[in-house]
């Protein structure tokens, strides 16, 4: 994995975390939903650049299926609109987070299993090992974002003694 890919994965993981942590700071709910889906599409592309399947349609197909599981009487309309209609708009970020996590497993789960199985016969540049490395980079990015949010803000002490009247 190149340094650029690693940096991009870290950025994508951090940006997804930021949007789901404070979605109201990223725009109206429909916009947040679209931004999250686009970031997932980019993440899927970085994790598996050789994938022949149209990632956008795969993700949307998966999202529509996910909405059926998560929302009563779900339709293929944006999740944000459906939740607003049901008076559950405040749940958008939590429900999107579940999809984001599930997408990560779907995008890389098989590759991780394959990578585990290949441990004994690891070959340099093995695609399964590479994708597993990408996943670990991504999780590292998410962990760093969470740590930044959890850490108290750094406040430099004011040096009152140096003031001159």
């Amino acid at each position: 994995m190149t340094a650029g890919e690693r940096r991009l994965l870290e950025f994508l993981g951090g940006r997804l975390e930021a949007m789901l942590h404070r979605p109201d700071q990223w725009g109206p709910p429909l916009v947040v939903e679209q931004l999250v889906l686009q970031l997932l599409e980019m993440r899927a592309l970085v994790l598996d650049p050789a994938a022949a399947v149209n990632q956008k349609h795969r993700i949307i197909r998966s999202f529509v299926r996910f909405m059926k599981e998560s929302v009563p009487d779900a339709t293929p309309e944006p999740l944000a609109l459906q939740l607003e209609r049901q008076g559950r708009g405040a749940e958008l970020a939590n429900i999107l987070r579940k999809f984001v996590d599930r997408e990560l497993i779907e995008a890389t789960g098989e590759k991780l299993q394959a990578a585990e199985g290949l441990d004994q016969q690891e070959q340099p540049g093995d695609p399964a090992i590479e994708r597993a490395e990408r996943l670990l980079e991504l999780l590292e990015g998410k962990a760093k974002a969470r740590m930044r949010r959890a850490a108290p803000p750094r406040v430099d002490p004011v040096d009152l003694g140096s003031r001159k009247s």
């Binding site: 429909l30 679209q34 889906l37 599409e41 149209n54 990632q55 956008k56 349609h57 949307i60 999202f63 529509v64 009487d73 339709t75 293929p76 309309e77 944006p78 609109l81 459906q82």
Partner: protein
């Protein structure tokens, strides 16, 4: 000569009667029986276009459509490429759908956009959709698996 013409006319009439492609001049509605029409109308009334429940409507309409046409199927409509998220109908205004579902039977599409009479399949996209050349037909997964 007259007999030959009569024979030709009889053969043509028989072909029109038996071949669905010839049964519907382009603008004719689908010829439901009374009970079939009632069932389809009920499904469309319960799931109007602005409800977004096009899949529920399609799954209710398909059994009736299948009575008329053994090849009846449910189609999903998707954006044709990766550069669009939604499919946008001409009406109702303001709706956003990731996917749309329609039932095809006897060369007609039937859904909440077409109403109970259906729209001939070959004019369905141009009649009901914005950017009709940016849409693609995908066989419905539940029916095909």
């Amino acid at each position: 000569m007259v007999v030959a013409e009569l024979v030709v006319l009889a053969v043509v009439a028989r072909c029109v009667e038996t071949i669905p492609a010839l049964r519907y001049p382009s603008k004719m509605p689908i010829a439901w029986t009374g009970p079939q029409r009632q069932r389809v109308q009920r499904a469309l009334r319960d799931h109007p276009a602005d409800s977004g429940r096009c899949e529920q409507a399609a799954r209710r309409i398909w059994p009736t459509a299948h009575e008329r046409d053994a090849a009846a199927q449910i189609w999903q409509l998707w954006p044709a490429d990766e550069d669009a998220s939604f499919v946008i109908p001409k009406a109702p205004a303001g709706v956003l759908w990731y996917i749309h579902y329609t039932v095809e039977a006897e060369q007609h599409c039937i859904d909440a956009l077409t109403g109970v009479d259906g729209t001939p399949r070959d004019s369905y996209l141009e009649t009901h959709w914005k950017a009709p050349d940016q849409l693609r037909w995908v066989p419905d997964e539940e029916l095909t698996t």
